[in-house]
Structures are given as C-alpha cells and as structure tokens.
Amino acid sequence: MSESILRVQNLRVVFPHRHGELVAIDDVSFEVKKGEILGFVGESGAGKSMTGAAIIGLIDPPGYVEQGEIWLEDQRIDQLDMRAFTKIRGRRISMVFQDPLTSLNPLRTIGDQLIETIQMHLPVSQEEAKRKAMAGLEEVGIDPARFNAYPHEFSGGMRQRVVIALALSAEPELIIADEPTTALDVSVQAQVLELLKKLCRERNASVILITHDMGVIAETTDRVAVLYAGRLAEIGPTEKVLHQPEHPYTRGLIASTPSVELGNIDTELFQIEGAMPRLDALPTGCAFHPRCEHAQDRCVEQRPDLLQERVACWLYADG
C-alpha cells in the first residue's frame, strides 16, 4: 500500500435539510497512487467537487462525512479536528479552484499571500520565504518582479498560474485541481494544464483533476473515475476507459463528446436521453437506469456494486 498516497473507502457525504437529507456522495471508494494524475469526470452535481472538498476537509456546513474513511498514507484524516487539519492543508494536500478571479484575496499582493502560505508551513525566515516565493513565481512563468502586484493586475490565465504557485508553495504531495481551466480562455487552457502536469511530475506529486471535459481527461490523466449522481460508475486507466468504456453512461458520455482522437468528426453527436436525477429524487437501484437502454429489472431493484474494481453495472455481473 506504500505506493498509494490517498485511499478513500466507502465515502458517504450527506446534507441534512428540512425534509431529511441529501446524499451528495454515496459509497465511493478509490485510491490515488504516488505521482499519478487521477481524473474525475461527470456532470455538474455528480459529486466531483464534493469528493475533493471531502478529502481536504472543507465541506460546507451543514454537509458532513457520514460514513467511510479517508487515509492519507498511514494517517486517517476524515476525523481530524480543524486545528490538526490546517497542518495538512497546503502542506500535504493542496487545492486549486475553478475561478482564478475569485481565488485570490483582491486586497493583498500576490507576494504577500505566497509568503504567508510558505511561512505557515515551512520553518523558514522571512527572506528565505520571499526567495522561495519568487522562485515559485518564476517556475509558473511569472516575472518575479511582479511580486508586489495585486491580483487584479493579472489576466485570468496568469492569475491561475499564481494560484498554482500558491497551491504548490509548501510542496504538497497531493493537489486537488477542481476544474482549474474551465474559467479560462480556450487558448490558455492547454498551457495552464500542461504547466500543472509538468510541475507535479517534477515533484512526483499526485493530482486529482476534476473536470467535465473528456478532452482534458484524455490529454492529462493516467486514470479516470466517472461519477454519476454521487456514485462511482466506472474507474480505470484512462486509455482503457476511453477506448473500451464499459458502463453505459461512460459510453454515452464519450459518444457525446466531439472527439478529434477518434477521427469521426462527421458523425452526428450522440445524446443521452433525459437528465441526471436531482439528488432529492434519486431512482431506486442503479441511479442511471431510467436513462439506460440496457436497463433490466435488476437495475431497477438493486444497486450494482463496483464489479472487478472497474464498473458498477449489472451488465458485467457474470464475468
């Protein structure tokens, strides 16, 4: 087990509300290996971001982890108190959010925010922290001379670079990147992604890359997990999942993505009928069955487990 940095087992996150509770994540298990980039893909509301928030202990109240375990190497972290968790956040697990425009405190210089983070986690002097901060900026391709600039003086893409520098500044082992390029111009998306990938490879840091973009998954990740309605539908090596998708939902998802790789631009894009159910109106059995063309009686009655550590679908129940 030493080769995995993070293990999540039977994670269940619920949000209590007036008429009961919403299950945002239900029985999700996976692990992240050292140095690996694991993609999380799914529609909005499928539980991708929530899984990220659960790992780093930042689920918005009233939501909470009801069941399951999260292990960071040999340490169980889902039950840590706030204080102990601050030693892990930023230092061992870090996070990059979707919108670089709002991720930085607009009233403080980027240098100030970098130094603050570095000094919080590493036993270094003010000068050493500043030197490290400048080196970090240089690494993400920002002129260290702009150390004292405010966030609003940068473009969106540059700001996301600052965010990445901040997230990496205390040398974490796992980075959760939640749609890190969605808010950026298409032209800079690839650059930022490439940068993130390169820096993590250099540090042998693992990444959980959350996205709804199959193209990003194909280009960036080693393995991919497909989430649907808070449950894991399919997980496996990216190559395999993309070329031999097993879960009907994954197949639909891939078929509905305009794909350059598969070379069939001319074919009409496939659409999955219907929409993902709301979390307060989940169907019985397999959450996907109302939209699934292969649905059998069993799918309506019984929820499939993850079979062969790969896919949660009754189609594969017999082998």
Partner: protein, 328 residues
C-alpha cells in the same frame, strides 16, 4: 489617482453649493426677514434702510453669492429670536455636540465592529443568537425612548449618572470641554450610548452580514485550502475585505450621529447645536435653521469625501480605476 481625488473634491463642492442654495432659499424666502428683524412698528424709512443694508433688492444670483461668501466667513446673519449673531450661538454650542458625537461614534464603531465579527464567526452560537435578536429590538426602539429609559434606570432608579446637561466644563480658548472633569465624563455616558446605540446595532449587523458574505467567497476557501488557520483567515483575510463596504455605511452613520444629536440633545437637555436647531424650528428662527442646515450639510459632505479617500487607501482596484465604489 490625483485625478480621482480632484474629481471627488469637485463633486463635494457642487453638492455643498446645492445645500447652500437650499439654505439660502430658506433664509431669504421663508418668512419676511425685514419684518422679523424690525418688528411690526417699524417705519417705512427703517424698512427701506434695512432692505438696502441687507441688499434684498439685488438680483438673486448676487444675493446667493453674498450668502455663500458670508457663510464662508462665518457670518450667518442674526437670530430672529435673540438678535444675537448666529455664528456666535453656534460656536458656543458646537463643542458640546462634537464631543458627544465623537464619543458616540467611537462607541458605535468599536463595539459594533467587534460584535459584528463575533456574531459572524460564532453565528450558530447561543450568545451570537441572543445578541442578534436583542439588536432587532434595538433597531425598533426610537432613539428618544432609549434615552428616556436609560434616564429612568440609571439616573432615577439607581442614581448613578446625571440625567441632563454636560456637568462641569473646562474652557480652553474658545472650546469648552467636558472631557477633563469627572462630572463632565459622567454626563457623557448616557447621551453617548443613546446616540450611538442605533448606529452600533446597524454597524454590527452590517459587519456581520459582510463578514458572512466574504467568508463564503472562493479566496477564503482557497486560504483555508492552503492551510491557513482560522485566526489568519478571519483577521488576515476576511476582516479587511469586510471593511471595504462597511466604511461607506459607517461613514454615513457618523454623519447621521451629528444629525440625530437633535433628539439626544433634547432628551438630555444637552447644550449643543441640535437643541439650538429644535428650538429654532419651534420658534421659526429662520437664520439659525439655515445655518444649521449648512453646518450639517458640510459635515456630511466632508465625511463622504473622507470615506471616498479611505476607499482609495484600502482597495487597490479602486486606485487603479478598475472598480467603482459600491453605491449604497
């Protein structure tokens, strides 16, 4: 940067001139200045002489200009009621009002901000809930009733604090201060709380709301995700961002304190300009009313200007002209 400051200054002057126009209109056209000053038994010759002396036959713009230049030199005419110079009446009473306003403002700002931060951070706690619900009653209580109730409890029943006046004052040049004597300080407590309480609850609710809003933002999540502890997140990141919108309202509230002083000063018979104004309204003493309007107008405009400049100091985005001040 300099351009922005100059433009704000210019705007302030325009608003002041407008306020002066209203004050002038009141001064010149409400009631008959000649009759008010001379009484009804005056001869036609006396009337003529006074009209000439006051220049009441000059064209309106000339009269307005004279009104403004006179006001700038501290000449607001003569009180209809006491026949004294209005400037003298005001100068005599201004220290009382300013000292009261200053203490109330400090009370409102400091206590309001602290309680606001507290109730935002511990928003689900019992104490925070209690503070919030009692503040709702505080907002509904009319200022004068708060004053009367405080007098009842602390002056009548307990006998701890005086219920009216400034106590002993010390004269320093033209300024009479109550800060230097025990009775002066004691006399300040009840009026200052009365005057500041409403603003205090307002600032508290505002700070709380803004703080909660800021705490929801991504950069706070990101700050937490970087492992910054609560203390740093609250005071290093959230507070400064909270203060930006709070400054506008707080600034205007400080202006309001000067204006609301008319109520508190009446309750406590505090010898300030507010009491002077209320009496002027009752006796229709137009020059005093007009002068008071100019005075309060100036206070508001100056405070507004300071608020604007503070903004420039706090928010780099406004300095660079990227963001305009949030209107309230």
């Amino acid at each position: 940067m300099l351009f922005i400051i100059l433009r704000r200054l210019l705007q302030a002057i325009v608003v002041l001139l407008l306020v002066a126009l209203v004050a002038f209109t009141i001064f010149r056209y409400i009631g008959d200045p000649v009759e008010s000053l001379l009484g009804q038994e005056a001869t036609e010759a006396d009337r003529r002489a006074l009209i000439d002396r006051l220049g009441l036959d000059d064209p309106i713009p000339v009269q307005y200009l004279r009104f403004v230049t006179n006001a700038l030199q501290g000449d607001f005419g003569v009180s209809y009621r006491t026949a004294e110079q209005v400037s003298g009446l005001i100068a005599e009473r201004l220290p009382a009002t300013l000292e009261l306003a200053l203490v109330s403002a400090l009370f409102a700002l400091v206590v309001g901000t602290l309680l606001g931060i507290y109730t935002a951070i511990y928003r689900d706690g019992f104490v925070a809930h209690t503070i919030m619900s009692s503040s709702l009653i505080g907002v509904s209580l009319p200022t004068f009733l708060i004053g009367v109730l405080l007098i009842w409890v602390f002056a009548v029943e307990l006998g701890w604090l005086p219920s009216f006046g400034r106590g002993e004052t010390v004269q320093i040049g033209f300024w009479s201060t109550g800060f230097l004597t025990a009775s002066g300080l004691k006399s300040l407590i009840l009026p200052a709380i009365t005057l500041g309480l409403y603003q205090m609850t307002l600032i508290m609710r505002l700070v709380r709301a803004e703080m909660l809003e800021v705490l929801r933002q991504d950069f706070i999540r990101f700050a937490r995700a970087r492992g910054l502890p609560d203390r740093v997140v609250y005071f290093g990141h959230a507070l400064k961002n909270t203060l930006v919108p709070v400054i506008t309202v707080a600034g205007l509230q400080l202006g309001a304190i000067v204006a609301f002083a008319i109520i508190t000063e009446t309750v406590f018979q505090w010898p300030g300009v507010g009491l002077l104004f209320v009496n002027a309204v009752f006796f229709v003493d137009i020059p005093v009313m007009s002068a008071y309007l100019l005075l309060v107008g100036t206070v508001f405009v100056v405070i507004n200007l300071i608020v604007d400049l503070l903004y420039l100091a706090i928010d780099p985005r406004i300095r660079d002209g990227q963001l305009r001040r949030k209107a309230t």
